[in-house]
Symmetry: D2
Subunit: 351 residues, 4 copies
């Protein structure tokens, strides 16, 4: 049993960490912090966790958190995580940061998040971008920068094609449940505003696009929308194949045959790439949110547009699990040599 | 490891049994039947179960099902279960019937369900009504009649008061998610008909009232509604206290004091009655569906109306779990001497 | 054309007044106030009203509002309306107050709303309780106290039976869309909290019960819930017939016959009582929210419980229209001698 | 007053025609057909229309319909409309066909809808594609082919840019309410399947793309999704500007300046193009479904991606009104010389 601490345990990310870790056979939650709810039993504030957790929210200093934990999940907003990470690492705790603070290069971070990065040694910490399926080096990391929810669904959807050199440009049109906006009531989460609606926002300049570009290194655009659902992100990737490539390897084969071979070829690329990756499920048809609700899966399907260089690839994740706390635990499993699916291997809540 | 068979594995009840049993450490699913999907892999028809189950739907005879199972869950519609139960029992399988076929006395069944009961030995089979918290004799039963979804929430809400002799009459006003109406599309489940709506139905004569009356033996009325949610039943019990009793024990005390003692007394009654019943959670405030979503819990809260003989007791369950397949597994646990919470002891999916 | 002013035009009640009055052929909106949005075009703040209204929100003194209006709708919170009404009336404007400030007797108001009533002449003002179908004296009123949303649906549901002397007690179990909670985001209106849920609140002591008791003068209990819908209130009235009466007129007839006559008798009572009341629609089956969405209708249906003294009567209204701004305009129509349905006579938005 | 007949009055399209025409001051509904409900009062089958319409559904022959109508709306499925149109026109009725039967060239229709076009004189009928804002020749048409719901939102979103010669390619990623799938319950409209979900379908090959290509004559792709809402289509148009053009007129100006001027230029193009088109509302921010719910508006907003040739244009319509029956009535208004907004000029149902 390892000891896990959670900094920021009252938001959706923190709560989902608690819920999932309570079912993890090899982890004991050692400390959960919340300034707002300091001293209150966690299961009083969050009755769905009763009687599974007896801890109270604490407001203790970073050193103590490190001392009481083998692994610390930092689940505070962007800009605050960097206040904790240096000291946690100095005291020997391994860290999974669920904020954006360690995902990007310092200069990119400062430009995009419009704030100075206060951790002087940011670049030396060797943070690994924790998209578990793509970064096996998570295993040896002391600091994992857990990916954003949108980048998780987007990057997983197209990486196999990108790695084949087939992709020229991708438009990610994403649709997210509102839980991604957090636990605090707001205009956009006000039921009369969101029910019977779908709300586009930051349609050309959402900050998450930076992670997608960093990982994919092709031309990427990203347009998010909020849908009237609690959980889930469906990412529709409009993939434009590389016409230069088309003249050489992959596209030639794509173009030179009838419809069936196309599908087989693309399917083959995905199958090979995700061989052994248990949380990626390739679908015959199109995925939707239902099958992934409450799970750590990323479901992926695709369809090739006829007489075109466009492939539509669609991925579905639970934004709070594979898009957040679940992937963090998946990373923890890899870091500590546990089975990758430990505590995460269960089917979704359908219907 | 015991072997569990499921007759009728393509409806919501059967699917929920599969989903939950897959996470049960002491059970192996041995056979799942479906005439419609015979020969198809279960996880093809229900992609959320991939890759957790490798079985195909089968259409085998009852004897074989019995022979391949220690326990058989019968998850077929009312009127069909009685076609299976006699032979299953004759071949030595223990049975949990999730239909209404063995819940009521034969005469009541035939009157209410408007059909003849084909099992000649119905009354001799010793079926136990499987409201686990109230019927410990489940432990020794070979046939458990698993309660209806509405009766589960209703009966658990008021039994402690009824057993105290305090209750004269109860109006159950229940609000259910639409999954209770089953997997087949229908007028009432058509999204444009149900969204932004609430639909009352069978407002004085729903068949489930018979189970409530059988168990409670007080004056009971029942009015159900369907709400635009997938899962959950919230039961608002308008409880009228017994005015005869009022002159003697409980109500005198209720009437003779200020508001606070009232609450303490009622709370005491519930606490004592449900002592050790892990799946009953008494709430300080009012329960709602969120905390029980995806769980086997029944949350209960109450409020005493001032200057009145009415108490409002509200219970919340997940209709497919505590109101169906979860309670069936809870009964199985008791029948086989497992821990009551085995495979069912996890918090709800919040948010 | 009469001139209508609206005090408090940025909440749901005020906005619905604007939307409906814009379609009214005999009314011109003369002034709309909002301290928060003073100086901003109304259709900038509320883009659904573009380009129908060119006015800006104003923050002018009460005298001026009165001078610029024939009728003033006061759509501010309870406790604030009484700051405006005296001066409006003194300046000769007729007033429809949509708050609770003039609905109850002063002593009841002060007890229930837990505040002093600042209008010294409150009782002399002759405020008429504006349940239009029940209070024709609205026609001559200078001050109409527009009913609460819950009381509207509840009182209309059972008044015909009450007036017959048949009713001993009523339990109103009401289910409301969340728009009743107002335009401001809150815990209860936070989408992840309300979706897939139903939330009971103030289950024995909601303030609206006082209006029901005032109008019905029988034993009344009231338990509200919020459902995951934007608009609508479905009120399930569990009506207990008067057993004393039962021995004499109505119940004898109810009891002495088969099922059909019962229905005919009750139906007859409703038809006669609501004869000529165009906004009351008696249903063969049970009403639901769909048919009344976006309308000023109150749909009513009933079912008699067999072998019982209980009748279930169900009413459905749009809480913001018949339960608020629509009824206010209906009252205005009556006050000014317009056709009662002027500006309100259209079918609902189905689907 | 003109007389309007409706062929196929029991589906959502027909019902919406009825609802809207009932509020139209210059139209009288003369006949409504439905084989299924022949002889039944329309307001019995559709209680939200009570007591606004006294007609019964009829099943009369086409000649009679024509004789009793000045204008006939054909609201039957694709493939059936062509059974009625020739005879209706032969008898002198003007026709608005809401199916796809007269939208495309015969050869395109037959290829895409995979059926023979039975109307021998199809091409001679001079059907006008009824996107009212773009086809003023509707005024003189005897046959209007009313556009599909998706094409309406898509084409309106980008036509101003296309007409400027600026557009190289468009990806339409559309999100529709489920009412577009019709009045019949189905797998996709089953509440437990759609709630908390978003479902992509026909992601590269939806038939509506043909209308978009016909009207826009640029490279068009189209990917639709169903969202858990009743009404509305939000179309996210990912517009790729013409890089050839970029070197000359519009894009040079786009590229040669800072961000602000870009916006002004694009805004200017839209404003000029839609000058005087009352049902097009250009938004400062992004549109969403709320403001157009229950209306004939098409709201449009855009955002220019930095350092890119992509503009995101988003349009929002009510699929049953501007995307169907409302636009049909708008066309009728133009055909008969009425004010374009007659019967359609009202704000949306918000909240």
């Amino acid at each position: 049993m390892i000891k896990a601490g959670i900094i920021g345990g009252a938001g959706y990310t923190g709560l989902e960490l608690i819920r999932l870790l309570l079912m993890h056979p090899k982890v004991k939650i050692s400390v959960v912090t919340s300034r707002r709810y300091k001293g209150k039993p966690i299961s009083d504030v969050n009755p769905h966790l009763f009687p599974f957790i007896e801890l109270e929210y604490e407001d203790v200093d970073t050193k103590e958190i490190a001392d009481r934990s083998d692994i610390v999940f930092v689940a505070v907003p962007h800009g605050s995580a960097m206040d904790y990470v240096p000291e946690l690492m100095a005291r020997g705790a391994r860290v999974i940061d669920l904020s954006a603070d360690y995902r990007l290069k310092k200069e990119d971070y400062e430009r995009i998040y419009k704030r100075e990065h206060k951790d002087k040694d940011k670049e030396k910490r060797g943070a690994v971008y924790g998209l578990t399926e793509l970064h096996p080096e998570v295993a040896d990391a002391d600091l994992v920068a857990n990916p954003g929810c949108y980048p998780t669904g987007a990057i997983l959807a197209v990486t196999p094609l990108v790695k084949e050199g087939m992709v020229n440009q991708v438009i990610f049109d994403a649709k997210s449940g509102i839980s991604g906006a957090g636990v605090e009531p707001s205009e956009i989460s006000h039921f009369p505003n969101l029910a019977e609606n779908i709300i586009p926002y930051q349609v050309t300049a959402h900050r998450h696009v930076a992670e997608m570009r960093m990982e994919l290194r092709v031309k990427v655009s990203f347009t998010p929308h909020v849908i009237p659902s609690i959980r889930g992100i469906l990412t529709t990737a409009h993939v434009f194949l590389n016409t230069k490539e088309a003249k050489t390897k992959p596209l030639q084969s794509l173009r030179g045959r009838g419809a069936e071979p196309h599908n087989e070829e693309i399917e083959g690329i995905y199958k090979q790439f995700y061989e052994g990756k248990r949380f990626i499920r390739l679908k015959k048809g199109m995925p939707s949110l239902s099958s992934v609700r409450g799970t750590n899966f990323c479901d992926i399907g695709f369809e090739i547009e006829e007489k075109s260089n466009r492939i539509v690839v669609i991925s579905a994740i639970d934004n709070l699990i594979k898009g957040g706390s679940g992937q963090a635990i998946q990373n923890m499993n890899v870091m500590f040599g546990f089975d990758e699916g430990e505590g995460l291997w269960f089917p979704g809540l359908v219907p």
